[in-house]
Amino acid sequence: MTALAAILTRDMRLSVRQGGGALIGVLFFLIVVTLMPFAIGPDLALLARIGPAILWLGALLASLLALDRLIASDYDDGALDLILTARAPLELALAAKALAHWLTTGLPLVIAAPLLGLLLNLDPTATGAVALTLAAGTPALTFIGLIGAALTVALRRGGLLIAVLVLPLTVPVLIFGVAASNAAIVGPVPFGVPFTILCGLTLMSAVIGPFAAAAALRHGME
């Protein structure tokens, strides 16, 4: 167990330190959401209606694009070779890395969402709903993105390629995330239904992600 704790704390320490990517995801999220009204126009009623969708799309892109260095940095400096020869199973090591990434990138998105809700003129219930669904949904985005990161580890085209590869896999999470938020605001459907499905998706991806990523790494070796 100490091995997984060690890699979790190391990754979090790395992302917070100089040169780490901890806040890059949140900045990207902030900028993407701020850009939307420039395109859509400052009509507050319209912004309020599509607010949850804007926040979810921003969080989705921010989560995926911040993942390209997750495994590639260990591959580049030779740490991946040692991780492969350690007693700790690769699947759990990758899950620990994904968790560390979510804590430093995914969680700040959830915290920043209510602030951005102000820009989009969301009322408190809408902001609360979006924050709750993001809290449940962003781990799924990170674990699915983990598979993309493992597939592209040896390639030089990391970042965008990951998004292209795994975006289709994130469609269910996006659908139920936005549906749950809208259910809380407009809601013919009770909030619980799409939300529990979203949580189910997250749990499923928390299992499939690490195993698929480990398989991708093992088969990626020559």
Binding site: A6, Q18, G19, L84, T85, A86
Partner: protein, 207 residues
């Protein structure tokens, strides 16, 4: 920590390795007993690194078998070996101590890093970020991992690169004590590494 069973022999029979569609070597057989060191030599591209990575389990075996007789039954070969590659596996933003502590805890759950740092002469700058280290110092920090984590088989890929004379002597000393305590070494090198009574395995000589 349960006592680590002492493997008696590393045995390779008819090993073959294919990388990127190219047959790097084939029909390779050798054995390394306890307290023995085997130097793998040969021109660049002869497959020295590939052989070490293959033994460590980082490269797929095309044909043949490799096993560690008498080793820890349920641990595969890679988990009983130290692989020291060209890269140092160090994070620049972590300090010298943090880097070694991480690998010590990750590879075997222990945490005694101070003696290892002193053995490689980095004890005085344990608090410095690894970014400030020279290539030689980074190499020595990477070597410190071999001391702080107890593993019977050492797979060293050109261990003396970037090391000056005093560091090479230090490494030779470490290797001698490892062999004396019943360890095994498989090293890929261009020249001698300061060890006496060492067998050599020539790769790709005729090729």
């Amino acid at each position: 920590m349960r006592p680590i069973p002492r493997p008696t022999r590393l045995l390779a029979t008819e090993l073959a390795c294919v990388r990127g569609g190219r047959r790097v070597f084939s029909g390779l057989s050798f054995a390394v007993g306890t307290g023995e060191a085997l130097l793998v030599s040969g021109p660049n591209g002869a497959g020295k690194s590939s052989l070490l990575r293959l033994v460590a389990g980082l490269v797929r075996i095309a044909a043949g078998r490799i096993e560690l007789e008498g080793g820890d039954g349920d641990a595969n070969l890679g988990e009983q070996a130290h692989y020291l590659g060209h890269q140092d596996a160090l994070k620049p933003s972590l300090t010298v101590a943090e880097n070694l502590e991480f690998w010590t805890r990750y590879l075997d759950g222990g945490a005694a890093t101070a003696p290892a740092l002193d053995a490689v002469g980095l004890g005085a700058i344990a608090h410095l970020p690894a970014a400030y280290l020279s290539a030689g110092q980074r190499r020595r920090l990477s070597i410190a991992r071999l001391i702080s984590v107890e593993r019977p088989l050492w797979l060293l890929d050109e261990p003396t690169s970037a090391l000056d004379a005093s560091a090479q002597a230090m490494l030779a000393g470490l290797m001698r004590s490892h062999l004396a305590s019943g360890g095994m070494i498989l090293a890929a090198t261009h020249g001698p590494i300061g060890l006496e009574g060492v067998r050599e395995l020539r790769l790709g000589g005729a090729g």
